[in-house]
Subunit: 376 residues, 2 copies
C-alpha cells in the first residue's frame, strides 16, 4: 500500500490554473477530453496550454513550446494523464520526457483504454516523479461527458426542461411561447454550444419549427470573446422520427451542421447534411439505450436533450438522465396544463426517480436548477 | 419640497442594528409590529431594546431604560415611527422627549391610523430633529405582515407547498409521506412559529391527522436560544370545514392553543379551545376574502397556509397569495401524480399568475424557494 502523495498549496494553485485552462476547450474539443497544462520552474509559470480541438496539439505541447529550454527540471501540472500512444499527434509523455521535466502532477488517470496507466508508467520509467490525484473531482467534472463515454459506452445525457413552478411545460392548448424569459432561452445557447449532440423529436421540431443550432450572437459576451464566430461548432442534431414523418423541408435541415434522423425504415431524407442514423424494425419503438450506444460509437460524448414530456419521461424512467437542467419561470399554469414528464409506470412514491441539486442560479426572472442523477 | 435627509455611515450601522433587534420579536409580537431601537451618544451605543410582546414595553422604553441619564442629547434609531397615543402602554414619543433625546432617526412611518405621522409631529414640536426613511425597505420587509393588515385590511398570506421537481404534491393514490426530507419539514416550523395564524382545510387535517402546532424541539437551535420553550406561542389554527364534517375528536383539537373552525352552520364544535369563526349561507362556498377580512379584524397579521391543491389554487387564482414558499424535493412523480394547484379557469399563458423569486436555499436535500407576488 502506498501513501497518497503530499500536495503543497502551490501544487493546488497551479493545478487549479490548469483546470481553468482546460475548460477553455469546452466548446471545441469533442470528441476529445478537455485538458489543461501548466509548467512551473522556480515557482514561476513558464508555460501554459490547453487542448483546443481534435487533430491539433495537446495541452502539454503548447505549454512545452512556451516553456522552451526552461522546461528542464520543471514541474508540469496536467489535468488528465498524458497520452502514451500515437493518435493524431505524437505521445505527450514522450514530449515531457524529452523536454527534461522533473515532476509531473496529474489530476486524474485517463480511462481511455489506449492511455490508462500507460502514460504514467512511461514517465516513471524515464525517472520522472509522478503524483496523481490532485483536484481530481474538478478534473472529473469538466470531463464528465468524455469519461462517461469511455467508462459506460454511452454518452453523458443532459435533459433540459423549461417549466412553470408547478412543473408544466405548455398550456392544455399546447401554447408554450414563452413560459421562460428570453434570458433563460439565451442561457440554453451556452449549454448547446458545449454539447456533442442535441437530441429532439420530430414532434418538437415540427411544432416549434426548431433549428436547434448554436447562435453566436446569443452566447454570453465573455464566451463570445473566447469562442469567436468563425470557429463555431454546430453540435450534431439527432432527431427521433419514429413515424417517418419528416419531409426534409423543415427548418432544421436548412441549418449549418449535420442532422441525423432516427427512423424506422431505411429511406433517408434527401438532404445533403442529413443522414439516417439507425433503423429499427417497423414494429418496435426506437430503443433509447441502443441509440445512445450508436452515438457513443460515433464519438458523441454528450447529448443535450430538448424535447417534449414523452421523451423526457422515457429518459427519466429508464434512468438515462445524468443531468437535469430545469428553468423554472415564476408562474403557475395549473392542473390542466401539460406535465414535464410522462411516467406511466410510476405508482409508488418510493420508486420515484431521484436526483441531487448541484446548483441554482437566477437567470433573468427565472431560476435555473442543475441536478445530477442520484448515486445510490 | 424638502430634500431627503442625509444619512451617514454611522447612521446606517446603527439602524441596521435596530432592525436586527426588531427581528428578535418576530415570534411573539403579533398583533403588534416588530420594532427595534438603538440609542447612541458620542458614537457609543448606550441603549438597545426591542418590542417583545403586546402589552409589554415598546422598544424605545427598553433602550431608554438602559441609556438612563446619558440619553440626554443622544440620537435614537427606531425602525418604526414612535407611537403618540396611549395604547396598552404610554406613548413612546413622550418618553423620548422626556429623556432629552436630541435626534430621532426613523426607518419608516407607521401606517397605523392611530400613529401615522402623529409621532413624528409630536417629536418635532418638542424641538427634536427627526429624519425618516433610513433602511426603509428592510424595515418594511420585517413588518410586511403587520403593514399589509394596516394598509389593506387583510392579513399577509404565505402559501407553503412541498412538491416534486414536476410540481406534484402526492401520488395518484394520495401517498405523500414524504415527498420532502425531514429537514424541509423541520424548516416549516420556523415559519409556523412566526405566523399569527395557520390556515388549513378539513380534508388536510383529517387525511394527515395534522396537529399544525409549533414544536419547540424542531426549531433550529439558534432560534431555540432566543425563543425559549416556556414562551412559545401557538398560532391560531384556522380550519375551513365547508361541509361541516369535523367531529371535534380530531388530533388538532387536542393541541395547545386555539382552533377556529369555519363552517356553514352555526353549530359549534364542543371543544374548550375551539370557536366557530364565521358562518356562510349553506348554499355558498366559503369566501376567502371575507374570511381574511374577519381574520384581520381579529388582529391576525399573517396567515401561513398548509393545505391541498384546491385551497392553493383558489388562493392563487384570486390573487390572495403574497408569498409562496415552495420546497422542491429532487425527484419526479410523473403526470399521474397530484398537481400543486387547481386552476380551473386558466386557459391562456398570458393570464398565468406571476411571482418573483426572492431567495433560494438548500434545506437538506431539498430546495426552498421563496417568491413574492409580482407587482405589476
Amino acid at each position: 500500500m502506498t501513501n497518497s502523495p503530499y500536495f503543497s498549496d502551490h501544487d493546488h494553485l497551479y493545478m487549479a490554473k490548469a483546470i481553468e485552462l482546460a475548460q477553455l476547450g469546452c466548446f471545441t474539443t469533442t470528441p476529445n477530453p478537455n485538458v489543461g497544462c501548466v509548467i512551473v520552474n522556480n515557482n514561476q509559470i513558464i508555460g501554459e496550454g490547453y487542448h483546443i480541438k481534435a487533430g491539433e496539439p495537446h495541452a502539454e505541447v503548447y505549454a512545452l513550446r512556451q516553456a522552451g529550454v526552461n522546461a528542464k527540471g520543471a514541474t508540469a501540472y496536467v489535468t488528465l494523464e498524458p497520452c502514451s500512444h500515437f493518435g493524431r499527434t505524437p505521445p505527450c509523455a514522450d514530449a515531457l520526457i524529452k523536454a527534461g521535466i522533473a515532476r509531473v502532477v496529474i489530476a486524474m488517470q485517463d480511462p481511455n483504454p489506449k492511455v490508462s496507466g500507460q502514460g504514467v508508467k512511461r514517465l516513471r520509467q524515464a525517472g520522472i516523479e509522478v503524483d496523481i490525484g490532485l483536484l481530481s473531482e474538478q478534473a472529473e467534472h469538466i470531463n464528465r461527458a468524455f469519461l462517461k463515454r469511455m467508462r459506460c459506452g454511452i454518452p453523458y445525457i443532459q435533459l433540459k426542461l423549461a417549466a412553470s413552478l408547478d412543473g408544466k411545460i405548455a398550456m392544455q392548448s399546447g401554447e408554450s411561447k414563452w413560459i421562460t424569459s428570453s434570458d433563460a432561452r439565451q442561457d440554453v445557447q451556452y449549454f448547446r454550444a458545449q454539447a456533442s449532440a442535441i437530441l429532439s423529436t420530430r414532434a418538437t421540431v415540427q411544432a416549434d419549427n426548431a433549428s436547434l443550432t448554436v447562435r453566436h450572437a446569443e452566447l454570453p459576451p465573455q464566451i463570445q470573446m473566447i469562442y469567436p464566430q468563425e470557429t463555431i461548432r454546430q453540435p450534431i442534431r439527432v432527431i427521433i422520427d419514429s413515424k417517418n414523418k419528416l419531409m426534409g423541408d423543415e427548418n432544421i435541415f436548412k441549418q449549418l451542421g449535420e442532422t441525423w434522423v432516427v427512423r424506422k425504415d431505411d429511406k433517408p431524407i434527401e438532404q445533403a447534411n442529413c443522414r439516417l442514423l439507425i433503423e429499427s424494425s417497423a414494429k418496435m419503438n426506437i430503443d433509447l439505450t441502443s441509440l445512445f450506444k450508436v452515438l457513443a460509437e460515433k464519438q458523441i460524448n454528450s447529448v443535450w436533450v430538448e424535447g417534449g414530456s414523452h421523451l423526457a419521461g422515457a429518459l427519466i424512467e429508464q434512468g438515462l438522465v445524468d443531468e437535469l437542467i430545469i428553468y423554472y419561470a415564476p408562474k403557475l399554469l395549473g392542473h390542466n396544463a401539460l406535465d414535464m414528464a410522462i411516467l406511466p409506470n410510476l405508482i409508488e412514491l418510493s420508486k420515484a426517480p431521484e436526483f441531487t441539486f448541484q446548483s441554482t442560479i437566477k437567470i433573468g426572472d427565472d431560476l435555473r436548477c442543475i441536478l445530477q442523477k442520484k448515486t445510490k
